[in-house]
């Protein structure tokens, strides 16, 4: 459907999100769902930009695909350090946020807003796939 490769830097967020939003519009999602998709992708993309390449610069590829099982897929691919966000311990959201360690809120948002999230490591690549059911 569409692909863009960007420097893994927060300055790239807007370009990556613009592509995803354009593809989500083309896929026919309503406005509110598009904003949820944008938010989940921002969280995942920001994680990569901030943490995938701790000692060097690198790139992230953003791919939007419509699959044959009626899902809109957003794939984020980087060659940074292995990072399986699904294996991360969830923050204890029952603790007062002012007493928690800062951060960690992006992953619960991704998991809550997306219909399926999968991660796999293929060679030196992290592949994070966010899937959103298309309304029929």
């Amino acid at each position: 459907m569409a692909t863009i490769t960007l420097p893994a830097h927060l300055d790239s967020l807007t370009r990556g999100l613009t592509l995803v939003v354009e593809c989500a519009i083309a896929a026919g999602f309503p406005h509110a769902r598009i904003t949820e998709i944008e938010l989940a992708v921002e969280e995942a993309l920001a994680n990569i930009c901030l943490y995938a390449y701790p000692d060097s610069s690198g790139e992230v590829e953003v791919r939007c695909v419509r699959d044959e099982t009626q899902h809109f897929l957003i794939e984020l691919i980087d060659t940074g350090v292995p990072f399986d966000l699904l294996a991360r311990p969830a923050p204890d959201l029952t603790v007062d946020p002012t007493q928690r360690q800062p951060g960690g809120l992006g992953i619960p948002l991704i998991l809550a807003l997306m219909d399926h999230v999968t991660y796999y490591r293929e060679g030196d690549r992290n592949i994070l796939r966010l899937a959103v059911r298309l309304s029929l």
């Binding site: 938010l39 969280e43 946020p97």
Partner: protein, 124 residues
Amino acid sequence: MELQTQDIANVLLIRVEGRIDHTTAKHFQDLLLPQLNSCSGEAKKALLDLSGVHYMSSAGLRVLVLAARQCQQQQGEIVLAALPPLLQEVFRISRFDLVFKVFATVRAALEHLSPTAASAYSGA
């Protein structure tokens, strides 16, 4: 994104406008936290009107946590009002709605914070 402030009796009303994401959150933080320096006890309470924020990611939530911490340290109170639907959803997922005092309208928040400020307020 931008802030507008208004003193209403002993309440500092801070209206936030715009999008708060990982690229704008630092700007939001730099604008917001200095405004809260006066937030202390009964003398000055803070009210964030978020009706103009239609997008906030976890980067914005982090700034709200910093704001709440600052007010706690100053023995001050900060409450939030008028969250658009996406923010309500983000708060529900993050459980922020259980910790922050969130009101449906600015007026409802003012009535909680200060009857004097509520009676002096002309908006909704």
